[in-house]
């Protein structure tokens, strides 16, 4: 029960953080329920850590192929810095970031 309550609170926080809609908005509960339903009932398979590692490495190579060596170096530096903090959820978190990546080789700016 505590787990469900925690998940509901996190779903609520996520709706606020992403949509910026106020708590009294008419669609607020609908969004929260959508989040909870979507994360409970889905057809996605579990993260394959080897596939994630391949995608991470592939992206670094892609940065270099398109001549974005500085970006590739910055990326590698962060991945190396993450190593001491690795735990069993790290592949899942990296998988999440890879799913949200938006054409980084073309659009990412080091100044950000």
């Amino acid at each position: 029960m505590a787990y469900q309550a925690q998940l509901a609170a996190q779903a609520d926080e996520l709706v606020t953080a992403i949509t910026n809609i106020p708590e009294n908005h008419k669609h607020r509960d609908v969004y929260r329920e959508y989040v909870l339903r979507s994360i409970r009932h889905h057809t996605f398979v579990r993260t394959n850590q080897f596939e994630v590692a391949d995608r991470i490495k592939g992206l670094e190579e892609r940065f270099r192929v398109v001549g974005r060596d500085a970006l590739a170096d910055a990326y590698r530096q962060r991945l190396d810095a993450l190593e001491p903090h690795r735990d069993h959820t790290t592949p899942d978190i990296l998988h999440f970031l890879l799913e949200l990546a938006d054409q980084p080789a073309q659009k990412s700016k080091l100044t950000d």
């Binding site: 998940l7 949509t19 669609h27 969004y31 989040v35 993450l82 903090h85």
Partner: protein, 76 residues
Amino acid sequence: MADRTEKQAAAQQAVDILHEISTILNCHLDRRTLSICISMIENGVNPEALASVVKELRKEGQHAQAENSAAAARRR
């Protein structure tokens, strides 16, 4: 107590690094949203399902904001 503070500092550092990686990957995530998502994943939420939810919420948020702007313009 000192051990707990050290663990918290290490967790903060990990989030900072992940936020930098998310910026390099152009994920359009602020630090707060990323922290919430990390907590959800640590609680067992499927990362792909969560990414799909984030994308959908962004679209809905844009609709809601457009709706609010239109309503505000009508009131003027």
